[in-house]
């Protein structure tokens, strides 16, 4: 029974997130809040969401962040934040839309505007993965 409820919760989370650009609070999801928060926890345990360290609300519904990050995305006329550069690119990938990503070089801070137009990337640059893949979920916020 939890499984069906969790699928409904996840579906609602992504429906709201993709339309509004930010993961919703538990109060936006149909059902008793305690049941929704318990579902968020199970989805986080299954690595489908990442929760804030206190309160049980969503921090990340990949590729979206519930809090501002250095990866600002505008896609389908909606502003959003990606959790990292991979996730910033993941937002237009998920929406199948054009996008403008405003970020900066992590070393020197020089601004960078990355554009996706008609499915093509129109920008230069590099992506660095500091943590080997098998360790990503040991500390997904740092990753």
């Amino acid at each position: 029974m939890n499984d069906d409820f969790d699928k409904q919760v996840r579906s609602q989370v992504y429906d709201l997130t993709m339309r509004e650009g930010t993961p919703p609070l538990s109060s936006r999801i149909a059902g008793a809040q305690s049941a929704v928060l318990a579902s968020f926890r199970r989805l986080a345990d299954a690595h489908m969401l990442v929760l804030q360290s206190e309160g049980g609300e969503i921090l990340m519904a990949g590729p979206y962040s519930a809090v501002p990050t250095p990866f600002r995305v505008r896609a389908n006329g909606v502003a959003a934040y990606g959790n990292c550069i991979w996730d910033a690119l993941g937002i237009p990938a998920m929406l199948r839309s054009d996008a403008e990503i405003d970020t900066s070089c992590a070393d020197c801070g020089t601004s960078a505007s990355i554009r996706i137009v008609d499915g093509a990337l129109i920008s230069q640059g590099l992506m660095h993965f500091a943590i080997p893949a098998r360790h990503w979920w040991k500390d997904i916020v740092f990753t």
């Binding site: 699928k7 409904q8 996840r10 579906s11 992504y14 429906d15 993709m18 299954a46 690595h47 489908m48 990949g62 590729p63 990866f71 990292c84 550069i85 991979w86 996730d87 690119l89 993941g90 937002i91 237009p92 990938a93 998920m94 199948r96 970020t103 900066s104 070089c105 992590a106 070393d107 020197c108 020089t110 960078a112 990355i114 996706i116 990337l121 920008s123 230069q124 640059g125 590099l126 992506m127 660095h128 993965f129 500091a130 943590i131 080997p132 893949a133 098998r134 990753t143």
Partner: protein, 72 residues
Amino acid sequence: MLFFRSEEHIDRWCAAWRLDRGAVIPLAKGWELARVWYGEDRRDPAWRRRTLEETEAVFASLGFTSEFWNLR
């Protein structure tokens, strides 16, 4: 995963944070990865996470075959 202007900037950042250099891919390859990784519709109740084997297949399809990408 962070964005950098060039290899030189990655090396400087790693030295500043005393971190080993990890894996580096061009942004265009990152876009390919994002399209595969996030291309499925997660609103679909039937969506599920990839298995380890499916994730390995994704990495292999993109040429990510070094030890850095080993999931086991």
